[in-house]
Symmetry: D2
Subunit: 377 residues, 4 copies
């Protein structure tokens, strides 16, 4: 029999939906010791939070996150509110002995992140950060292939995350769905929002980053602010790119922007090693491309692997070969792994501590861009 795990969700935006869906679906597909229960959802706008609760069948609502944390019937706090709320909530939740699942990026900066790590580790509570792309089956398969040594020594790692949704200069910043454009709520622009994903995956697949040289750009420098109604200076970075050295001696190249026409959410990475290469792309997330130089020359070429067979990561839980899954399944996988780690008393990767490393790189990137010089992580 499964044990209930009572979830208290904070925030009900886009991430609130992806997480709620994951909690509701995970036991239909995974055989687990725990079953998440949608106990309560918390948001400041009572009507909106009630609507959300009705839609997703949460048992109750709260309008103050402190109340949610105070409830005895909540086992785990899931933080989906804007970045500038992560630290305070997570630390309070940990101190209250709750498990904490925090949406990425971990924090506004390294200093906050350090305190968050200290809090969860001191409290000894289960903790994880939603860098969900690790659990795309094709990405998990990439990890497996690399760990098996198939690529040999790594020479190059490159990643990009390209979007095009903020090109319109009339798009306002701030408030509700647009808090990602408000530097006070988001901390940074594409660096924390998009590059953080690329960096998390990169560290997971290729190890730590040693130093960086970066540039950022804000193409639209003033926008109307949704909360004040005034045209204000834009504080976020619209685009960010950096070069880096990994600790393993390989070279890295990262780029992110919201000004790349034709790309909606094109997260791609490619790794080149001594024996082979791997590349992947979020727009066709169910595929992995793999090249092995040791094959016979006349049939050597990039393998286009349709990651849907039952022996591929997570795929025995879903349908049959050839039938693809999508974006939302990455969250289901993360919940499944979290619950399994919980049952086994293991930390669930990426932990707050692991996510802090991504935060360090982000901070070095922003510093390097500001100073126009190389920055050591």
């Amino acid at each position: 029999m499964t044990k209930p795990l009572n979830i208290g969700m904070i925030g009900y935006g886009f991430m609130g939906r992806t997480h709620s869906n994951a909690y509701k679906r995970v036991n239909d597909f995974f055989d687990l010791a725990y079953r998440p229960i949608l106990k309560a959802v918390c948001g400041r706008d009572e009507q909106k939070v009630r609507d959300f609760a009705d839609n997703w069948q949460y048992e109750s609502v709260e309008t103050e996150w402190q109340q949610l944390i105070a409830r005895d019937d909540i086992d785990a706090i899931d933080i989906c509110s804007p970045n500038n709320t992560h630290a305070e909530i997570a630390i309070a939740a940990a101190e209250a002995g709750k498990m904490v699942l925090c949406e990425k990026p971990l924090s506004m900066n390294v200093e906050e992140g350090v305190r968050m790590v200290e809090a969860v580790e001191k409290a000894g509570v289960a903790n994880t950060v939603w860098y969900n792309y690790r659990r795309v089956p094709a990405v998990t398969l990439a990890k497996q292939l690399i760990d098996e040594g198939r690529l040999g020594r790594i020479f190059h790692y490159r990643a990009q995350f390209l979007q095009d949704w903020t090109i319109d200069a009339n798009l306002p910043q701030g408030g509700a769905a647009l808090w990602r454009l408000d530097v006070n709520a988001a901390g940074s622009g594409v660096t924390g929002d998009l590059l953080a994903h690329c960096i998390d995956t990169a560290i997971w697949l290729n190890g730590r980053i040693r130093d960086v040289t970066a540039m950022t750009e804000t193409f639209v420098t003033e926008r109307m602010h949704n909360l004040t109604g005034k045209v204000e200076k834009v504080g976020i970075d619209d685009a960010c790119a950096f070069l880096c050295h990994f600790e393993n001696g390989s070279l890295g190249l990262f780029e992110s922007t919201r000004y790349a026409r034709g790309h909606k959410a094109l997260y791609t990475f490619e790794i080149n090693g001594e024996h082979g290469s791997i590349r992947w792309d979020l727009h066709d997330l169910h595929r992995l491309e793999y090249f092995d130089h040791r094959e016979e020359s006349i049939i050597r070429g990039w393998h286009d692997v349709h990651v849907t067979d039952g022996d591929m990561p997570y795929m025995d839980k879903w349908w049959v070969p050839g039938l693809q899954i999508g974006y939302e399944h990455t969250f289901v996988h993360q919940v499944a792994d979290f619950l399994e780690d919980l049952a086994n008393g293991q930390p669930s990767s990426p932990t707050f501590r692991e996510a802090l490393e991504t935060q360090r790189v982000c901070e070095s990137v922003l510093q390097s861009a500001a100073k126009r010089s190389w920055s050591t992580v």
Copy 2:
């Protein structure tokens, strides 16, 4: 408030899972008047059906479909059992005044199909057949583009459904997961299993088929039968291809096989019209390729449309642009449409009557192959 709609599911195999998932998820994403309730699931093996019920949280189980139909607390019967059970169950369900949702193909042959149509129409019960691929957003978008006249007069329609899972001569036939290889349970091989999907989509997009010339092949002629334990003659078609004329004057080319190495579930179609063309493929179901000859020559080329924006069919219900959905969502969409049609008192396409037309084509195809001559539908 939503009204409950009590589902009685018959069968708990692969399709049992896809349908159950659809019923459970639909209200999280679609705003509907009804909410499906997983009331009961029915199967002959009590232990297996209980396990399935536990997994998916069905409220109860039955081991005789007649008992299920007899229950007052069941509103709709969903038939996921092998093809040779469809007619008897559907007719009994209709006579009992239940709505009927029947997995494809409708029936073993046209004669059965005619009786099924008569039964549901006489009873006046809501009915539909799970030709789910119509509800892939990219396929629904193709329908929209064609209906808007963007392709002009149609010249060509071609479709294929290629798999490779039965090449091993040691694979047995019959029983449980392999009933599709047993002609007594399935009625035919790839024709009813795979080509039926292609034909349903084709009729929907391009109208009726007038006549066909076909060939079928059984590459492995004897297989051990799972139920008898003996090597028996294989009665199904491993491969089937046909040429045809559509009523609109266009030419059709259809092929299906389970002997195409490298293809797991490669359902593709392409339509060529006077002004443009469309093509689609199930291995990347979230994309539609579109060609418009009226564009300027120097920028004219196939458009690779990533069908994830909010103004594309069904996609406003899911995530954000660039984030793909997968195979299972087609069933969610069909349930959503069925429930909306139910609320509006409309037939829900494809109805039994519409699915019967596909059955007619399948039967003509098999006859043509048997007689080695053209056959009129």
Copy 3:
């Protein structure tokens, strides 16, 4: 030192250009015993043939092909004139002891083809037909992979040749560049023009075809004739498709049309065997896709082979890995092979006799379509 081989070219259209280019270039890249000399070109319009000769640096011109054949300084006759002239010229050339290189298709029908084969074989002259696509390096590589047994037993062969240039009903038929639309000059439409290529490759790669069931269509039934200035009935097939059995037991599916919007010259084929599959497409002729089911599942996928390495067919003669060649090179390869075969006293494939087999299939296809019944080749 190379020996000169004096070429007498008949016709100066599109094929006249591709062949002339091949003769001029072959010795720059291939080490051969012979060097083709552009001795004379023959055409009925003196001004045009002179212009062509000037452009390509032919040494002389003729306006009567009989005169060309009669010249002592001509070693080989190359026939690039319309299909309805092939038989008469080829037979006369053979009787005059000239080698004959004939543009495809060999003839207007099987009866003519038989006489042509008899003529060249009786005369003992070197002969070949320009089915140039065999010499695309990727296609030659496909042949090599199949001959090495990598695919195992073959189940399926499918090919298509799709174009879109005759959809405009105002396009006239006949005369000069449009003789391919005039049944009297061309013999048939897409069957002899496009499917003949598909059939030649198929027989080469997969062996003989046993029987066919076909359909043809003429979408535009009347067109202005360029020579008469009158609107006349169109005699050619605009589209043709057929199903067939190969002698090795595999199934074939062929289609060709000039009414497929979005495709300029999309010749594609795919072969599915027990162990693997191959596919190729003329729009990216420098690539071969290869699938080997015996690879480990987790890295199994179609190999995208960029056929530009030095150990791939013909590619050691050209540039360096990664740098693609194009369409015209197939003709250079055929000339190179012809000259090497000549030096070795070998027949040069496809010979007239081999090309006659393609003619037989074409004729069976047209008969089957006319009679609406299966036709044995």
Copy 4:
């Protein structure tokens, strides 16, 4: 009538072949006032240069470039010898009043380049540098689309040139075919060899580069030297990447390496503008991808343009739609343009002066990498 233009070629390696082929073919396809004559080829190894001359039908040979320049019957000097010879030869040729066609990169460094520009401009001789990729029809089409303003304001430019041929640590450096690995002959590694191409195209398409931050890497630090037979320190860069600002305010990202498994000569670029985007890749050089955000959302997607129609740059000279050309044609196009510019008394782009700008960027890149700081061009 065409006027002869007597070519004196220096060097007979890979580039010697591509240029020779271009001179021999150009008049077959382009209608020009001049016809290049392969008058003489010069190389230090007499036997090898004679073999080359025989192969390509050069009229004569020289073993001292000074002798070649001194000949009255030579109109133009084509420099295909290693980079460290460009300046001396080019300046001497210009002083002798010869036209100069110089293989890229222009020079070993900016200082040399400045003297070369001064020499040709002072002498008033026609001059050009073989940045051949500008004349890929798809790239020329990209230029046209940008110049027409179709992309609007440019935000991003990214380019990469990835190869994998020097990963083997046993590959020696220097001498004959491997001079590109010897810093004394080549000046730099991938920066001058590969990035120079990317930079030339970028400046042409997107304007000047203002500043850069770069990193270089030498993965294999010692190699046997072919000329000395000793293991020596490797002086070239195996990989180089840089970030930059263009003068138009857009951001640039460039990367080149010879350590990217799976890529033979993958030169790619992508440009993102306000209204649309363009991307191209050398492995399928006959295609251009184009995105226009102003299209209707439901059919919006990247256009895959098969650049083979007669109204696309250069393509009216070749075959028919759908039939691709290859790498070597870029050199034919450059010769054609050079001869046309010559006839019109126009400079032929890229001139020495234009190529010097690329040299400046290369030098800034190498300086930035050496100093680990931003460098202004």
